[in-house]
């Protein structure tokens, strides 16, 4: 791939897919941008026209918006902290040589195969339910009042459910990183007098930084758009307590049938995602270099 003609041929070969992907991205983005400046309500389709930044202003003036923004970031941040910390601990644990290691690993990975609405339903009805849930049974067993998870701590409950779903992913990536660490390095550290904690702090953790970065970047992409778990459990409530930006956009589009406002919300979400991506890459990007 170094001669002039082979480079040209390569570009020609790649061109169709690049063009296709560009169209794939540009057309929806342009349409969303177009609608975000239009009056477009499905309940009154005859009233149309340009409204300037009114759709955006509605979001910024809505008291729910800032809460939704906070909730979105809290969801991403909370799940990231829980999955990375627990993921490292579980990876360390299942990396130990035990009997039935293969089966154990399948068990750990299993939650990832449960689809989001099903996972949320399981948690809502089998664990968090005030009458039938396992948690309330445990609470009653101790003579305590059952905790009303989805009413009293809706956002924390959602963070808990989403963490459960994403923990296997984090664990798996971190486990492979752990397995690629040469045992001679750990033995050398042991000879050098490093305690188990020091070996973790100075050898294992630095070795895993790249994998941790990958986990954070990939999960952030997916967590910014979390919707199904909220829709299945809290419906964004009580009130707006667990409304996130995607859920708020959904409410404008499907419940209020206001496509213009929903499009404006979509553009705000794109901008938010880019801001998050910028700070993530600035903070973590150098971990991906050699």
């Amino acid at each position: 791939m170094s001669t002039h003609s082979s480079r040209l041929a390569a570009r020609m070969m790649v061109a169709p897919s690049v063009v296709l992907l560009l169209i794939w991205m540009i057309v929806p983005l342009a349409m969303t941008l177009y609608y975000s400046f239009r009056l477009y309500r499905l309940l009154s389709p005859d009233r149309t026209g340009w409204v300037g930044f009114n759709n955006y202003l509605w979001f910024f003036n809505s008291p729910d918006f800032w809460l939704a923004l906070f909730n979105t970031l809290a969801l991403v941040g909370g799940v990231l902290v829980i999955t990375v910390v627990l993921g490292i601990l579980i990876a360390l644990l299942i990396d130990q040589p035990v009997k039935g290691q293969g089966f154990l690993r399948i068990l750990v990975i299993a939650p990832f195969f449960v689809m989001p609405p099903v996972a949320a339903s399981i948690w809502e009805n089998l664990f968090m339910h005030p009458q039938n849930g396992l948690f309330s049974a445990i609470a009653r067993g101790f003579g305590a009042q059952p905790i009303l998870f989805l009413e009293q701590y809706p956002m924390l409950s959602v963070i808990g459910i989403v963490s459960w779903e994403w923990l296997p992913f984090a664990t798996l990536i971190l486990l492979t990183a752990l397995q690629s660490l040469s045992s001679e390095q750990l033995e050398a550290a042991e000879m050098d007098g490093a305690s188990a904690f020091a070996r973790f702090r100075y050898i294992i953790l630095p070795h895993m930084t790249r994998a941790i970065t990958v986990v954070i970047l990939i999960q952030t992409i997916f967590l910014l758009g979390i919707f199904g778990e909220i829709f299945t459990t809290t419906q964004g409530g009580p009130g707006s307590a667990s409304t996130t930006l995607p859920y708020m956009i959904f409410k404008q589009a499907i419940a209020a049938k206001d496509i213009g406002r929903a499009a404006a919300g979509g553009i705000i979400a794109v901008i938010l995602a880019n801001i998050v991506a910028y700070f993530l890459m600035r903070g973590l990007g150098r971990n991906l270099e050699n």
Binding site: E187, A188, E190, M191, I203, P206, T209, N290
Partner: protein
């Protein structure tokens, strides 16, 4: 300060006895080389001394104190690994200082020791680089630096030169020997290369299948091998073994003649040259001798014999005699 005594040390992995039982004394300041074919248990023995493996039974004493159940860090030994095992995310300086940092030494003393080690090993210009930016020989030196800053009772080397190219290997071999001359610390060195063993050791321990075949100074092993295994392992090219009628003439089951102890010219043996390698200083000939078999001959460089030539050979040096059990007579 660095005397190591092994008593009936045994190591089994499950059902398999890797080391059935070894008694060995390593004197303070000695350069001891464990040599043997791969899988002979030499690395396992080193790891037992280091404390990276638990002994199944037997005792290991370091400086007269029982160290059998001490963790590696408490034994006061330093090890250089085959893969160097440098910490890739730390600079050379931090790599070398790591054991000192773990020991809780104050920063000024750490810096002083790192600078001194770097000077000895010609690493002063590379202290702020990472291992990934160094050549193989430099990495090797960093690994040695990390070992010497601790001022250990003994150094353990696990095939440290096997990842280097031939020219560098000779250089590093001399550097390690010089290091031993200046530090006068006990060193245990594991290798499968008998040239490294012969050139570096004060004392060679030849291992085979987890057993010690012979312990001795390099020339002692060369001149007086105790059995067929040691005779065949020490010396390059390998010693020729002759059985049958020719051996019976010397009242032995097997006789061994080193290639360098066979003269070309007139003699009792006649054969056809198969392969000839002319190195300039020497010529290695493989000669098929009637009634004896193929003999390797190390002839002087000027001997001009080629494939198909008929030549006569005579033993011109010590003939080693072995009984039916392969033990020297």
């Amino acid at each position: 300060m660095g005397k190591i005594q092994l008593t009936k040390v045994r190591k089994a992995f499950g059902e398999v006895d890797v080391i059935p039982g070894i008694d060995l004394t390593i004197e303070d300041g000695e350069f001891v080389v464990f040599v043997g074919p791969s899988g002979c248990g030499k690395s396992t023995l080193l790891r037992l001394i280091a404390g990276l493996e638990d002994t199944t039974s037997g005792t290991i004493e370091i400086d007269g104190k029982d160290a059998t159940n001490l963790p590696p860090a408490k034994r006061g030994l330093a090890m250089v690994f085959q893969s160097y095992a440098l910490y890739p995310h730390m600079t050379v300086r931090k790599n070398i200082a790591f054991p000192l940092k773990m020991a809780g030494m104050d920063q000024a003393e750490q810096d002083r020791r790192v600078e001194r080690a770097a000077k000895v090993l010609n690493l002063s210009n590379y202290l702020d680089r990472r291992p990934g930016q160094l050549s193989g020989g430099q990495r090797q030196r960093v690994a040695i630096g990390r070992a010497i800053v601790r001022e250990p009772a003994a150094f353990l080397f696990d095939e440290p030169l096997s990842n280097l190219d031939a020219a560098l290997r000779v250089g590093m071999r001399q550097e390690i020997s010089e290091l031993h001359q200046s530090l006068k610390t006990t060193m245990i060195y594991v290798t499968h290369d008998q040239v490294e063993a012969m050139t570096m050791a004060d004392k060679i321990v030849v291992l085979n299948a987890g057993r010690i075949e012979q312990v001795g100074a390099p020339l002692e092993l060369y001149n007086y091998p105790r059995n067929l295994f040691v005779a065949g392992f020490i010396g390059s090219p390998k010693m020729n073994f002759i059985e049958g009628a020719e051996a019976a003439k010397h009242d032995a089951h097997t006789i061994g003649v080193r290639p360098e102890h066979i003269a070309v010219g007139d003699g009792p043996w006649e054969g056809v040259v198969g392969l000839s390698e002319h190195l300039g200083s020497d010529s290695f000939l493989k000669v098929a001798v009637e009634g004896i078999g193929t003999l390797t001959v190390r002839a002087p460089g000027e001997v001009n014999a080629h494939h198909g030539d008929r030549i006569r050979l005579a033993p011109a040096g010590k003939i080693h005699r072995f009984n039916t059990n392969g033990m020297a007579l």
